[in-house]
Symmetry: C2
Subunit: 300 residues, 2 copies
């Protein structure tokens, strides 16, 4: 499709999870970000541990794969693991979908008892010490933080001695009520719009969607205030939520993330921020951290 | 819904087009952005001219209201008006929907003859002189441009003597092939994900979706590379595209945008960048220009 092919080509690089073949501009002097990803050697990819991989299966089909972030929100992630291993999310539903904001799921009745061992009031795991977090700053400006970059392969920001995960498209946060409540993890949301970065350090970020976010982002928007569904029958039921480690190997999904610090990762970041393929007239010379979410692929 | 209400409350401010009632935090010491918008006097709103309002009616229902930007892309907008007034888009379709990127429409066959008077090779209307554009900078950092702010009520950026519209959620751009081609306007896309700001100054931005973007953002994602649909029958047909000025008054939609420079606009920007309602622990003290898209409402 002539007029759209070139626009389309760059989409590969923009769509963080795109696992599509290299675009038509393969003869381009500068490799595109997607070409760099497609040619990254096995050593430049790192496995997502099965104990951190949450698999949310929707009623009627559709699996959303979520990587948990235990290093950033350990108590919230421990709660989520307990909820999942107790089958607590099974039969709950997606109750709220607000355009350009979030899709949110949990127990719509808010009467479902939590399993034993859940920490009812987790600490405010909104930031952690930058030291030891694996945070590496990028030389790009950010509207919200002094520094942005990646921390152990996650989009992150840092100020002073703190580092935190940023609310990019696909990041998964913990719904909460007014401070000091931080949420138990029984109500979660995924960002399905432009990064609501003002939530950073105000809410616990507990994970990110690695695959299948289209099963959330294409849902009908709720017509009530804030995107809540007007009728209970509009809520999409969740069949099961499991940790990959608890599933039989045949039913596990397995993913890899381009490894922060690898040559391919560095080349990909540079190419994303300095687009030089045939389509571009003016490379940006920088990029929003939420346009630098590390590439993900199914484990070969 | 206890755990989600507060998270939900801030959604109003994030969803630029939200016309929902003031959130539960009405007793909050600092008014929320949505409260400021809800209480803005009539004098602080400005009408979208009917000759700039494009109404895209989808087969099977659903209207997408798009404001054209003739001051930023005059030749492209003149082309789009000619295409629309010739009924050229009627019976075309949405051919590509890529998650976290764009929904794109036009003639899938690329064989449909263009009406007389279309400029086949418009100039590269990627920026304009900042002087006379109405650009007013905000004191917030940006990853892509030296300055960001608003220009005549549009999210914009500026560097040196130039100003340009930025690729925020809902912005409408002109699909093109390789430079120096700039596209005729016969193939358009709307951003349905995190702002692909690297497209700024590489593509003509010709408008923005004011209402009904959920009719695009919820469409099934195309399964082919770049989000193109695999089968022609997966494309959503477009019934008609009209300018509001050409419709009978009863069928016109009419919108207003919170007026840049009005007291309510200034208060809204400040509140968006410095959230102090009960939910927030840590106001950001800044905001991404794409989280500062001017509020829009139906004309009362």
């Amino acid at each position: 499709m002539k007029q759209s092919t070139s626009l389309a080509a760059i989409a590969l690089a923009v769509a963080g999870l795109a696992a599509a073949p290299a675009p038509a501009a393969a003869a381009s002097p500068a490799p595109t970000p997607s070409q760099i990803v497609a040619s990254a050697p096995a050593a430049d990819w790192t496995d997502v541990p099965a104990e951190n991989l949450l698999l949310l299966d929707l009623a009627g089909g559709g699996r959303v794969a979520i990587e948990l972030a235990p290093d950033f929100a350990p108590v919230h992630v421990a709660n989520i693991r307990k909820l999942v291993q107790a089958g607590w999310f099974d039969g709950t539903s997606i109750n709220r979908v607000q355009d350009n904001y979030v899709a949110q799921w949990g127990d719509a009745t808010e009467r479902k008892a939590l399993p034993a061992g859940i920490v009812a009031q987790p600490p405010a795991e909104y930031e952690r010490p930058a030291e030891g977090s694996g945070f590496a700053a990028l030389p790009y400006r950010d509207a919200y933080a002094a520094k942005v970059g990646h921390a152990d392969g996650w989009p992150a920001a840092s100020e002073g001695r703190d580092a935190w995960l940023v609310h990019c498209y696909g990041m998964v946060g913990v719904g909460r009520d007014m401070s000091p409540d931080t949420g138990t993890g029984a109500e979660l949301y995924a960002v399905i719009g432009h990064a609501p970065r003002h939530l950073d350090r105000n809410i616990a970020v507990a994970g990110r969607v690695l695959d299948g976010i289209e099963h959330l982002s294409t849902l009908p928007r709720g017509t009530e205030a804030l995107g809540f569904y007007a009728r209970p029958d509009q809520r999409l039921p969740i069949a099961t939520v499991r940790l990959a480690v608890d599933l039989p190997p045949t039913d596990r999904s397995a993913y890899q993330v381009l490894r922060q610090g690898s040559p391919s990762f560095a080349a990909w970041v540079h190419a994303r921020a300095n687009r030089k393929d045939d389509f571009f007239i003016r490379p940006a010379g920088g990029a929003d951290i939420c346009n630098l979410q590390p590439p993900v692929r199914r484990k070969p």
